[in-house]
Amino acid sequence: MAADGKPKQIRLSTNPSREELEKLSIGDIVYLDGTVYTGREGVYKRAIEEGEPLPLDLPAESAANFHCSPAATQDDDGNVKMGAVTATASFRFSKWIGAWFQKSGARLILGKGGMSAKDYREHFVPNGAIYLTTVGYGTGALLGRGVKGVKAVHWRKELGLAQAMWVIEVENFGPFIVESDLEGNSLFERENARIAENLDKVYEGTRPAVLKRFGETDDRSDELI
């Protein structure tokens, strides 16, 4: 956080050095320059579980994996029309992320909502990677403006438009917020803890349902992800 209380804003390469990542704190705002690629469950399954060789040179081409399906179409000649770009929720990809770092050398994971601090400590910190979350999560039009072009669409036929690996050239692509740092701290978990202090007061005047459901907990600081 900068001295005036406004978040600090930084331009960052999609192949950042460790020194550049060390300068980032959770809550900083980041805009990216370079190349990012999309990859989510379809790509992870194919590359990790089925052992299919990667269709591009990682991390040389890009160290930034975006959890995203763009709103885009591709005609029969391969021409691409891309509209808005928005991330998808990352917590669902936790089981593949460790193996993915090994395979891809990614240092930036971009997505929606972050992952758990446990994931950061176990998988991100040892691989020198951080998590950047999209803002909103509806700033698809702003992100779309940062897209300079689509370099390639890999595994389009095998995985479909939404799950394919889109390789995207970006400039001033953002905003993103630094959700995890190189020590594995999570901005969301910090905010959750602050909000939890007020929850008992908010819940005054309410009462639990007469009929309980399996799996219920009364600890409201728990997360359901």
């Binding site: 999560y137 698809g140 039009a141 939404a162 009929l211 992800i225």
Partner: protein, 322 residues
Amino acid sequence: MIPIDTIQTTAESLMDKAAIEIPDDYLTGLQAAAADEEGDLSSFVLQAMLENYEAAKEDRRAMCGDTGCPRWYVKMSNDARVEGGPIALEEALRRATANATNGVPLRPNRVHPLWRTDHDNNVGINAPEIEYGFEPEPEGEWIDLITVHKGGLFGTDYRMLFPSDGIEGIKRFYLDSLVAFGKRGLACQPAIIGIGLGGSKDTCMVLGKRAACLRTVGDRNPDPEIAKLEEEFKELGNSIGMGAMGFVGKNMVIDCHIEVGYCHTGGMQMSVHAFCLSSRRAVARIHADGRVEYRTDPQWFTDYQRRETVAWQPTESQSKSA
């Protein structure tokens, strides 16, 4: 007779508007939220959202990359006849959905639940949903097409409560839904929250979803006691201390709408729905002479839709509001 070509071209234009243009009532609500937000990070997020709406309109691109699940609500006057009949109407709406998915473009979100087959056009088995309503007023031959591209899949839940749960139980489930799905901003708040009370399980979900998607910010239920609850729940949601993206803040709920349906004497069904930051809805009325009037207020919940009696007997005030 309402011309089928006009229905399809209007439907395509509505798909475009819904994806790109934030409705004025929601925009005004979000501007008010941005003006009084004190959390540093939540303020930054709300400002970014406002800039994003502008960028979407300027560039004519979808405001969010996840363009939601397009669906249709169709309302007809008692005299409305569609050229080609209801089968032609449904084909026109499905075709418009498919064409706009490639035209805007929208994200082809709709897949088979088991085989994950994607037609790349947001059309498939039972998709898009098409729901119908009928209206006695105004007289004449007209049809309203309403498209909603619902987002906020994490913000919705259902629970069977009982009369003994009372308002305290309703509040508990409401807060549980907001707190659970608001963390990390999974509900894409601040949102319009719709609450369905009563009916049967399916009706309860339908009512809550329509309360979220088919009423505008600032609109109140005509039952004064329910209207008070709507105000109270809006404040309650905003007192959690959670803002946009689950950061510390005080704007979680842009507005809260409650719709009720008569239910079994032993139960009190409740559903909660969040209509996300990109509250995508667009409406047009098409007349038999081919006139098309665009608006953003669906005007779905009329006195007729909420009627309690066997036969419809409009009073003077009721026929005005229809």
